[in-house]
């Protein structure tokens, strides 16, 4: 069993500044979220960086300059249903933002982080599989250096679009308190990211974002299968 740690949906568009009018325009989609200005997070100087956090702190809508992230913290089993539900949420939030601003976006992504294994079960078998020659939907592995990328051709809005299927495996150390004693917990995390490739010709409307989000769950189902299928 593999659990998702976080789910992230992303669009790249013109920067959006913090304003009460803009937040009001998100009513019905983002309600009661608390705004916070963010500084020194590596975004280029001059670009607005702020975020809205849900009251239960399980969801964050982050405006990171030219990139808007919708991040959900979840710890439930990976699966197509989970992705479908989150993709639907992304459609709603990003759809409203693009409708309100009239912007188009240049890149779309859906990117879950999966807990691959706890320290107790080092995923040797998984690593052996990762670094074996693989193919996805008839496309062979493009890169295999720490992260792996498959670039698949898909159609969005009637246009041929290259979609990156990126996986990146890393070790994450977490300090946890067990029985009053601080202990280091080591977890193997798999970051997955299905996104439209960087291309100045790509422009996506609200309809295109929805099409991408509708397509994403089945893409993930096949992509996950490469790594997690028995």
């Amino acid at each position: 069993m593999y659990n998702t740690k976080t789910l992230r949906g992303t669009i790249f568009c013109a920067p959006i500044k913090y304003s009460k009018e803009f937040i009001t325009s998100l009513a019905g989609v983002i309600d009661g979220y608390l705004p916070m200005l963010v500084r020194d997070n590596g975004v280029l100087p001059g670009l607005p960086t702020w975020q809205l956090t849900s009251p239960d702190e399980k969801e964050v809508l982050a405006f990171n300059g030219d990139k808007i992230d919708l991040v959900q913290v979840v710890e439930s089993e990976i699966g197509e249903e989970q992705i479908t539900e989150f993709a639907s949420r992304c459609k709603k939030v990003f759809g409203r933002i693009l409708e309100t601003t009239g912007y188009v976006c240049t890149r779309i992504a859906l990117a879950p982080s999966v807990i691959v294994a706890e320290k107790a079960a080092k995923p040797t078998a998984l690593y052996n599989r990762i670094f074996a020659v693989r193919e996805l939907d008839g496309v062979y592995l493009d890169t295999s250096n720490i992260s792996q990328v498959y670039r698949l051709n898909k159609t969005i809005g009637g246009n041929d679009i290259k979609i990156n299927h990126v996986s990146n495996f890393r070790v994450e150390n977490e300090l946890v308190t067990i029985g009053g004693i601080n202990q280091l917990r080591e977890r193997y995390i798999g970051d997955f990211d299905i996104n439209t490739m960087v291309n100045p010709e790509y422009k996506f409307s609200v309809v295109d974002v929805k099409e991408f989000m509708d397509m994403a769950p089945s893409c993930f189902a096949r992509f996950y299968n490469l790594y997690f299928a028995d």
Partner: protein, 259 residues
């Protein structure tokens, strides 16, 4: 020789002078002939043209002291002359490999790619500022500078706009650069970009230079947003009557359009 001539008869002096001129003229004539040969072997047109083009362009482009202009002059083999390149003509494609593309969309990787491209643009700042100064901007027409900066923005819009903002603030004493940046903005920006770039336009609206104010109004005319209209309405004094009329015309248009 003169003493010797003084002591001899006039006839003898004539003979001696004749002899002397014969001895001197031989190598002299030979040297002149040799020089003629060398001169005829040279394509003097090349040098004449080079000189002409260099002096005329030197007059045309006022080059700042801190810049080594020689890097922009190249020899044109076909025409046999010299051509002064505006720096913008230097190909950006040779630096193609410096652009890191974030395969994934994680904040760290995206920020790193943005930062890397910004550093690259910073390294070209003086070169491009000079190109802007040398370029004649025509209303609504692309030129080498607008094409180059548009190509930067197509690769990485955030880094390019950040860099233009820096370029603007580091050339506040050079109105021609500021005008050029604004005229470039009017040509390359898309909807939504004005959020980030408006401070430059507002600063130039408040300038004493009529050319700079005109360039700022042109950008506003292109963007046509509520924020632009507010900025335009906040300006009380224009540097010339013509600019005041232009501003009034655009303000009226935007009020009608935006309600």
């Amino acid at each position: 020789m003169v003493d010797t001539l003084a002591k001899t008869s006039f006839y003898q002096q004539l003979v001696d002078i004749q002899d002397l001129s014969r001895r001197l003229s031989k190598p002299l004539m030979s040297s002149i002939e040799s020089l003629n040969k060398q001169m005829s072997s040279l394509n003097l047109d090349v040098y004449t043209e080079a000189l002409k083009s260099y002096t005329s362009l030197a007059d045309l482009y006022r080059v700042p002291d801190y810049l080594d202009t020689s890097v922009f002059i190249r020899h044109d083999v076909e025409d046999g002359g010299f051509i002064v390149d505006t720096p913008s003509m230097s190909s950006a494609s040779q630096d193609e490999n410096i652009l890191t593309i974030a395969e994934n969309t994680r904040a760290n990787d995206v920020n790193k790619a943005n930062q890397e491209y910004l550093e690259y643009l910073r390294s070209r700042s003086e070169e491009i500022a000079t190109a802007i100064m040398r370029t004649e901007f025509e209303d609504g027409m692309d030129n080498d500078v607008t094409l180059l900066i548009r190509s930067f923005a197509r690769r990485n819009k955030s880094a390019t706009y950040n860099w233009l903002d820096e370029l603007y603030s580091t050339h506040l004493n050079l109105s021609s650069v500021l005008q050029g940046i604004l005229r470039t903005l009017a040509m390359i920006t898309e909807r939504g970009d004005e959020n980030f770039l408006l401070p430059m336009v507002v600063a130039s609206l408040r300038s004493n230079s009529s050319a700079e104010q005109e360039a700022a109004i042109m950008v506003i005319e292109e963007w046509r947003t509520k924020e632009c209209l507010e900025a335009l309405c906040s300006i009380k004094n224009y540097s010339s009557e013509m600019i005041a009329d232009y501003a009034e015309m655009v303000t009226k248009e935007l009020k009608e359009e935006l309600g």
